[in-house]
């Protein structure tokens, strides 16, 4: 099994979510969005061999004069692990000066990497590069990535052995495209500058494309393609208070809940949302809710039913054990893939279908 495929999720680290301004939204325009501490972005990439989407959850920890710090959690399959999953976590710092001027973009983070790469950003371009693309239609860049050719040749430990090569070349503006992202659980279409080109190192060429948010005031990579792999931001959850139920509905999606891929393990980034849910239940002592787990359509029916049930139970247990919510007020249900709310044909659609809902419909 090619370990590298799963590592690909980690490429979408800080670079995809750094910046300090708002995100413009079009469809279902929610409040304008600012990239700020506490913001969580979920990135996804599809493993076409296993037909499974793998997610990485990135949390902005701080933004100051030094730069932007972010934490990322993700999981990769590991047959040797007791539960079949190996947990990964990383902390990254993108220095402020690199956000301004760097021409190097690091798409791949490897075990043993330092916290920061001086002179480099993540998948998001520096302001210099972004402005150059907008003004001149192209920019020369360097992209640090693990070549799929190398990693595939080296088999199961290819990720550990294949080093990060630096591909050089020019990317040109190919036009503007829309990228659909769930912002606070609401499908939102964001306008992106689409750039691409063939970067090379020696005889190794890489078709490389980026979709950068078309907003000079904010740096945000929404999606990129490197060789045959695609990574995309599928969810952005802002650190804010949310009302879980509208006046007209007794059912609500619950944004801000994150699980390890293919696991019922809640990630730390879920705590603010769980805390808000617990507070809501405290404020409405007459409410009883059902936590419903839902999945996308990858994997078998039985697997998805089981996973969705376990995820709902996991959230319930958190409410009970950490926040003292009485068990009688929380029920659970797992619906697997049976109640999609979006298409299962796209990364972002499947991300939408992988969700938790709460219901107090009785």
């Amino acid at each position: 099994m090619n370990f590298l495929r799963f590592q690909f999720m980690s490429v979408v680290l800080t670079g995809l979510v750094l910046g300090c301004s708002h995100l413009a939204s079009q469809e279902s325009a929610p409040n304008r969005l600012r990239v700020e501490p506490g913001l969580v972005a979920v990135t996804a990439t599809n493993d076409h061999v296993l037909n499974k989407d793998y997610e990485a959850v990135v949390t902005i920890d701080s933004i100051d004069s030094q730069g932007t710090r972010a934490s990322t959690s993700w999981a990769i399959p590991d047959k040797n692990a007791p539960d079949g999953v190996r947990r990964q976590a990383t902390h990254a710092l993108e220095r402020a000066q690199d956000s301004q001027h760097a021409r190097k973009l690091i798409l791949w983070y490897l075990p043993g990497d330092p916290e920061t790469f001086p002179g480099a950003t993540g998948a998001t371009p520096s302001l210099d590069v972004f402005n150059e693309v907008r003004a001149k239609g192209e920019a020369s860049i360097v992209v640090g990535a693990v070549s799929q050719t190398d990693s595939q040749e080296m088999g199961a430990i290819g990720n550990l052995l294949a080093g990060r090569k630096y591909f050089r070349g020019t990317v040109k503006r190919l036009g503007n495209e829309s990228v659909r992202v769930l912002v606070d659980g609401v499908p939102t279409v964001l306008n992106a500058v689409h750039v691409g080109g063939t970067l090379s190192v020696g005889e190794d060429n890489a078709d490389t494309q980026f979709w950068w948010l078309d907003d000079p005031a904010v740096r945000f990579a929404l999606k990129f393609k490197f060789q045959n792999s695609v990574a995309q931001v599928v969810k952005i959850d802002r650190p804010k208070k949310v009302e879980f139920f509208s006046r007209t509905s007794c059912r609500s999606e619950l944004p801000g809940i994150y699980f390890l891929t293919d696991s019922a393990e809640l990630l730390p980034a879920s705590q603010p949302a769980i805390q808000r849910l617990a507070a809501t239940l405290r404020a409405h002592s007459d409410w009883a809710i059902t936590i419903e787990g839902h999945t996308d359509n990858t994997g078998s029916d039985q697997h998805n039913l089981d996973l969705s049930q376990r995820r709902a139970e996991s959230l319930k247990n958190e409410l009970l054990s950490k926040y003292g919510v009485p068990a009688r007020r929380v029920r659970t249900a797992g619906y697997g893939r049976n109640r999609p709310v979006d298409t299962n044909a796209t990364l972002e659609g499947r991300a939408h279908n992988r969700r938790v809902e709460i219901s107090r419909c009785g």
């Binding site: 043993g112 916290e115 430990i157 050089r168 190794d204």
Partner: protein, 399 residues
């Protein structure tokens, strides 16, 4: 010391890779009926390491004048040698290029033209294997250190590399694209900033190497090598009378400690008592450690003692760098000193040597790339250390 460790690591990893590759290919064939899912046809490229070994001349990144701009005049044109040799002798089609000054200091450049990213990855493998995750700093101090630029010989350095790793005071592995330069200036000197200016000249040329023929410098280098002090019996370098004029009456004839008389010579003499300690400038933690051992006394070593002079006839400047690193690592245990010491620490001026240093392991002086070392344990007093340096000075004059 470095190369064997790397080679061992590489050998192990290459074995693992080959096993993994074979397994994968077998698996792919079994599952899919063919091995067509494995792109590329580079199988075996990691096994021999020779596929790209001579793609370009290793001297094609730096002209003599590029180096001379930093080091001053070179002794001759650059020449080729084999990477990893203690004594970088001229070697036809060698995979490393040597830039040599008139006093036999050297800067050695070797290049992995392709698959350099993998090579660097292997060099970093120990930390990669142990950390498990990327960018996870163990402590706040680790995080701060990681945020800094590459630290070498006590100074921050910045270069035109994409990634780099350092070893000891004076060796950089710099990756650009998929090519890796091993820039080894252990045999030159400790000025990292100036050394890196040479490396920075070389790095962009990885994409467009100069036309060069490093072999053309080999003959001249061979002739220069003949002018170097030739290995001979260490005990024969100084007469007994000459030694006794420094150390006092010897209790026995000087004799080598091993079968190789060219390697060292042991002198037995009576050491006088001394009150002053060589530890006066040592880190507090180390003084405390020694004090505990000696009951607070210093200059302990007295009476009949053996002292040995060891000579490394080739690669003396590199030995100087390496010994400082080892000594630094020892001292760091007592001082909490982060990282490795500067090569300039303990530098001793004013002798007949080209460069000399005193560190926790002893005194080492280098002349024409010949290293002369004498032990001087921490318990020795300053006078006792000076005595040994005098003996080294006398011996160096005879080289």
């Amino acid at each position: 010391m470095r190369k064997p460790r790397i080679l061992l690591t590489l050998a192990i990893l290459i074995t693992v890779v080959l096993v993994a590759c074979n397994k994968k290919r077998e698996g792919a064939a079994g599952e899919n009926g063919s091995s067509g899912n494995n792109p590329g046809n580079k199988s075996g490229q990691y096994a021999g390491g020779g596929r790209h070994a001579s793609e370009h001349d290793p001297c094609s990144l730096l002209e003599a004048r590029d180096v001379e701009a930093v080091t001053g005049p070179l002794a001759g044109p650059p020449f080729r040698t084999k990477e990893g040799l203690d004594d970088p002798v001229p070697t036809e089609d060698g995979d490393a290029c040597v830039y040599q000054t008139p006093d036999f200091r050297t800067i050695i450049v070797s290049i992995t033209w392709t698959d350099g990213a993998t090579a660097l990855r292997m060099l970093k493998m120990p930390s990669a294997m142990t950390s498990g995750t990327s960018g996870t700093a163990e402590t706040a101090e680790d995080a701060k250190r990681a945020a800094r630029k590459l630290l070498l010989n006590g100074v921050e350095i910045d270069g035109d590399w994409d990634e780099a790793s350092t070893f000891g005071c004076c060796e950089i592995y710099a990756l650009r694209g998929d090519s890796l330069i091993n820039f080894d200036f252990r045999g030159w000197g400790p000025d990292s900033k100036r050394a890196v200016t040479i490396l920075n000249t070389a790095l962009p040329r990885l994409e467009h190497p100069l036309s060069a023929n490093g072999n053309a410098g080999n003959d001249a280098a061979l002739k220069r090598a003949a002018l170097r002090p030739q290995p001979r019996s260490v005990c024969a370098l100084l007469s007994r009378a000459e030694v006794e004029s420094v150390l006092g009456k010897l209790a026995a004839d000087p004799h080598p400690s091993s079968k190789d008389p060219n390697q060292d010579c042991v002198y037995r003499f009576t050491q006088a008592e001394s009150k002053e300690s060589t530890l006066k400038d040592a880190p507090a933690g180390f003084k405390s450690f020694v004090g505990a051992l000696t009951g607070g006394r210093t200059g302990l070593v007295q009476g009949a003692v053996d002292t040995a002079i060891t000579i490394k006839w080739r690669g003396g400047f590199r030995q100087l760098s390496d010994s400082g690193m080892v000594a630094g690592a020892v001292m760091a245990n007592y001082d909490g000193m982060p990282g490795l010491p500067k090569r300039t620490q303990g530098k001793v001026e004013g002798g007949p040597w080209d460069e000399a240093t005193q560190n926790g392991l002893g005194f080492i002086a280098v002349k024409k790339d010949v290293a002369v070392m004498i032990d001087s344990e921490p318990m020795l007093s300053q006078e006792q250390v000076e005595l040994r340096r005098k003996l080294v000075a006398k011996l160096i004059a005879k080289l």
